[in-house]
Amino acid sequence: MSKKIITNTIAIIIFVFIFFFLQRLLMPKYMSEIFEGNLIEEYYKSNKDHDVIFLGDCEVFSNISPASLWEEEGITSYIRGSAQQLIWQSYYLLEETLKYEKPQVVVFNVLAMKYNEPQNEAYNRMTLDGMRWSKSKIGAIKASMTEGEHFIEYVFPILRYHSRWSELTGEDFRYMFGKKPLSHNGYLMRADIKPVAKIPEGRPLPDYQFGENSYYYLDKITRLCKDNDIELILIKSPSVYPYWYEEWDKQMIDYAKENDISYINFLEVVDEIGIDYEKDTFDGGLHLNLSGAEKFTKYFGEILTNDFGLQSRKDDPVLASVWNEKLEYYNWMKKDQMAEIAEYGKLISYGAPAQAQ
């Protein structure tokens, strides 16, 4: 009897081991393209002592550089953002982040207010697969699932990615159990340039009112920040696409007033920031490139210091050591990207992040 139990136990252990081995193998690694699939999980390896947490979609992870913010202002920060990150995903990511640390300021980019319902399975996976299991992840999954998605496929991603067996590459084996960081505290660097061809005119919409669900989660973010004594700043990042309507802007101004929080539309101060859409974007205005992100970060960093009272922490030797190491990697990548651009006229080994919003 005991022999049978031992055999069965060993069989189950081997089965579970193979199962998880295959699961790791089949899950996408996002190491040579669609880098933003890695952003969420990279947070867990950080030192989790951040003055500012940025929340939002690509208008955050492409437009703000925490390394630059440290260099300029001595402010520590992390971007918890991913491609088309929906507002409820931002809420649950904030909820989860607060279990690890308590920042002084949370910055939320409000473009996600335009999405009142779950949108796209592929983007969901990029945000949610990277989250560690917690009540927040369960909440995020439940709030995000589109038709045809199943909760169990998040619990066992092999059920979602099983068909990748025919697309496996060396990368899938190489990065099965460990990956090098691709972002700089959540910032995805792109140094190449693709100028804005035309400043967009917004097409008329049938209804400009943000949805109830969006407001519901914005309220939750606001409450969560207030309950934790965190300053919440709503921003509209200076990307020219997708079009940011005046009607949307007004709703955010009103919301900020009603809730006694700050809202800054950086599209209105593009000239003050010094952004030149001929040079400071890598995809015609959807996202800022490195030069644009550094300009924007510098401008925003001054606001954070002057208006929100954040202090430089460069005097802290432990932090300084950590961040100097980060800066070293940041500057190495900057140089490497510049070298590639100089040699090939474009980026070769830094992929082409999805044209996400």
């Binding site: 089965f15 199962f19 045809g148 068909s163 025919s166």
Partner: protein, 530 residues
């Protein structure tokens, strides 16, 4: 809640756990609750239909059964007092009472089935007739939602009522037990169409946790999922690509479509039945086999003894025999013998019964002319084979090749292709298109196109073939093994390590190579649509 959904697997695990935790005398009650929950999941409104069938079956079968009892009692009590003639007359009276009840019961239940499934088919044909006669207006179509498994549970319950009418066994006095027989969830979707006397013993008895039986059941379920998800659903896009575009896919592609569909349908239907029988087994309920390696059949008649056995035997027992020996048919036989001679006179009732049965079998599969022609073509092949039997006998007397492997292989291949030709009628949009496609096989010689990239232009990629070829071969090997023993029994004789490895390989095969989830069109079991 189809078998391949996560919800169903979760549901099954819960029911299984509760089944063996519940007091044994309530196990069948738990299955009844589970079956109704399963049914309600498809739509609470559909419960009305199955309830009407269950209650009407219960009322009429009880009434018919009581007349049997009354008759037996009366004849027993008056054993010595009644003359033979009086007994006969009494029996006739009672029989006609039972017959009236039977007819009403059949009328109600087949009526429901007929109205729901065939009203629009009739309307379409009437409208078409009107249009041909120059009428511009037609009848309006009715929007009926077809209740889950209605063809299966109606046939199953009506088989039961006919058995009670015939006095084959005692009627079930417990309405709830009859309700479970009607609605037992694993067989509700695609059968098999069970007989009450086959099921009642294991369905309502108490079951202890028998790990060996349960393990066999689980193996069968997993094998069923393998056939369905790895083979049938992966082949689906090949079949739909070919039959969905008859203008492009002609000639050899029609043959390829027939071949794909034969394998797809087999893997789909037998996979579903494996899951059904396996589920029955984990609950300790023995369901009858519905297939015995049909693609090894050497004739169409044999094929139909091995394919969808429960449906074939239903039509044989409840339709073919009663029609063949019915009064009008006997009269017809008599008069045709007199007028046309013994040869035709003897055959005519059989032919007419066969045509009626195959027409009905066709229309049972679907309210469309495709299925009717499908049924009649099956009938034609079987009758022609019967007529040619003397020729075959003479051939075999002269050339004794019956035991020759090559000749048997020829017979198997011939039967496979005859059935594939007929079966493809399921797929094309109408009979005319199907026959046009038959024509292109003989007029469009494009065989080599298949090897010039054609195989990759039918909705299947190289990776699909990489999965399909070994999987279909595995299915073939398992079938070959099944001629002597079952694979499960063969594995049971091997070491535990081998058993576990085989089991794990199939599970990982399903998980990785199954055509499920996002990126695949989830496919219902084909027979669940009938």
């Amino acid at each position: 809640m189809i078998f391949t959904s996560y919800e169903f697997i979760f549901f099954l695990v819960i029911v299984f756990a509760l089944y063996y935790m519940a007091p044994k005398k309530f196990q069948w009650v738990l299955l009844l609750v589970a079956s109704y929950t399963f049914y309600a999941y498809a739509g609470v409104k559909f419960l009305v239909y199955i309830l009407v069938t269950t209650v009407s079956t219960y009322i009429f079968s009880s009434r018919i059964g009581k007349i049997h009892e009354e008759q037996d009692m009366y004849l027993k009590q008056n054993k010595g007092e009644l003359s033979r003639q009086e007994r006969k007359e009494y029996k006739e009276v009672m029989k006609s009472k039972r017959f009236r009840l039977l007819v009403i019961c059949l009328f109600i239940n087949f009526g429901i089935l007929g109205v729901i499934k065939y009203t629009n088919f009739v309307i379409a044909n009437v409208n078409s007739l009107f249009a041909n006669l120059g009428f511009t207006r037609g009848l309006t179509f009715v929007n009926f939602a077809v209740p889950l498994g209605i063809s299966f549970y109606t046939f199953q319950t009506m088989g039961y009522v006919i058995d009670i009418y015939r006095g084959k066994y005692k009627y079930e006095k417990n309405l709830f037990k009859l309700a479970l027989f009607t609605s037992f969830f694993p067989q509700l979707i695609q059968g098999p169409i069970s007989r009450f006397d086959d099921l009642k013993e294991t369905m309502f008895s108490e079951h202890s946790f028998d790990s060996s039986n349960i393990s066999f059941g689980v193996h069968r379920i997993i094998w069923g999922y393998f056939k369905k998800l790895v083979i049938a659903d992966r082949l689906l896009s090949g079949v739909t690509t070919i039959v969905g575009d008859p203008a492009t896919y002609q000639g050899v592609y029609v043959l390829l479509g027939m071949f794909f569909y034969a394998i797809q349908l087999y893997a789909d239907f037998t996979g579903g039945i494996d899951i059904t029988i396996g589920i029955g087994q984990i609950f300790g309920i023995r369901l009858k086999e519905n297939f015995i390696r049909p693609f090894f059949s050497k004739s169409v008649t044999e094929y139909w003894r091995r394919w969808h056995i429960s449906l074939g035997s239903w039509f044989r027992d409840y339709m073919f025999y009663p029609i063949s020996v019915s009064g009008p048919m006997l009269k017809l036989s008599k008069s045709s013998r007199r007028l046309l001679g013994d040869g035709i006179g003897k055959r005519l009732p059989v032919y007419i019964s066969s045509i009626i049965v195959w027409f009905t079998t066709g229309i049972w599969h679907g309210a469309a002319w495709n299925f009717i022609v499908w049924g009649l073509l099956n009938c034609l092949v079987i009758l022609v084979s019967q007529e040619l039997e003397p020729l075959y006998v003479r051939f075999h007397n002269r050339f004794d090749v019956r035991a020759n492997f090559t000749f048997r292989l020829f017979q198997v291949v011939r039967t496979f292709w005859i059935m594939s030709f007929i079966r493809i009628l399921d797929c094309y949009r109408d009979v005319g298109t199907t026959f046009r496609m038959y024509g292109t096989i003989f007029t469009k010689f494009n065989f080599m196109e298949l090897f010039r990239g054609g195989l990759l232009e039918v909705g299947l990629s190289i990776s699909d073939y990489i999965v399909l070829i070994p999987s279909v071969l595995l299915m073939l090997v398992v079938s070959l093994i099944g001629r002597r023993t079952s694979l499960r029994e063969l594995l049971a004789e091997r070491s535990q390590a081998v058993r576990y490895a085989a089991f794990a390989a199939i599970i990982f095969g399903i998980i990785i190579f199954g055509a499920y989830g996002i990126g695949y069109d989830s496919s219902k079991f084909i027979y669940s649509q009938f």
